[in-house]
Symmetry: C2
Subunit: 145 residues, 2 copies
DNA sequence: GATCACGAAACAACAGGAGTTGCATAACTC
DNA sequence: GAGTTATGCAACTCCTGTTGTTTCGTGATC
């Protein structure tokens, strides 16, 4: 399957928006992400509904941050995207009759659930503001070197 | 996309094979998994190459275990399947020019890598023999109750 | 009113597991 | 050695969800 890159794309965009004055058009965002404006609007709609972004129609319109990046975690973005499926692997049948399969599901399902829980917890610990500051460090290194 | 259920299917089959005398045909396995023999052969081929299974052609042929279930971990099976993609989510570009995207990838990629590492480590700790014994417990509970 | 920009619907492209068919090949039975 | 059983392999189609694209509607600005 093609990997779902909506989370990383949104993080990318949000940091750019933070460093940008005034609203940013879907057109410009699309160029940053190497995609097109419709995909951008579709993906960002969830973030607007959650109150992280605002969008303004018409001349001079576009997208703007409604919150500080320090107030938004990776998990917030993940949830705003509709909590996409995390794993490409899973069990064959969620409620099997076969006791063997039940034993398999118990072990595999448990391991997957725990891994997902850990990943999402980790996402909840990281604010986008931290990523932005990491970008600043990289920028400083780049210009210094 | 539809979840990749090859791992759980193979675990399911291996335990059944352990409780079965003589070779098991792809046809019979397919009925256990609610699929068809070609899918079974395709999926089990990797386990044969790794030496966990043998397959015999012709009359009276079929599949048989070449190892004890205690010698095979979930991770062994995962690897025999060609190490399928674990996550349905990922970063947009593995080697981006944009420094912002690099910072995003560092954070998201790291979290994903760590989660994958943990999951695979956990898989490495669980032998199929343990799952089989868990099945026995469930069976006992079922007949006792 | 012309232009700019978002909103929404509809559809094709793509990727990978799963399902299916057909045929070749090997092994056993008679 | 002919028939049967079973795997091995190749070449499809199907399914599902992200991504990409086009088109039209609508609101805001100039």
């Amino acid at each position: 399957m093609r990997a779902d890159s909506r989370l990383s794309r949104m993080l990318h965009v949000l940091i750019h928006m933070d460093r940008h004055d005034g609203p940013v058009t879907s057109e410009l965002i699309a160029r940053m992400l190497n995609t097109n404006p419709v995909v951008v609007r579709r993906t960002m709609a969830g973030l607007r509904e959650r109150g992280y972004l605002t969008s303004v129609k018409g001349h001079g319109g576009g997208w703007a941050l409604a919150r500080s990046l320090d107030e938004i975690t990776l998990r917030d973005v993940y949830e705003a995207l509709g909590e996409p499926t995390v794993f490409a692997i899973g069990v064959a049948d969620d409620d099997p009759k076969c006791l063997v399969e039940q034993a398999v599901n118990a072990a595999v399902g448990e391991a997957l659930r725990e891994a997902e829980q850990r990943l999402l917890s980790r996402f909840g610990e990281i604010s986008i503001g931290e990523l932005a500051r990491d970008f600043d460090r990289r920028m400083a290194e780049c210009t210094a070197g």
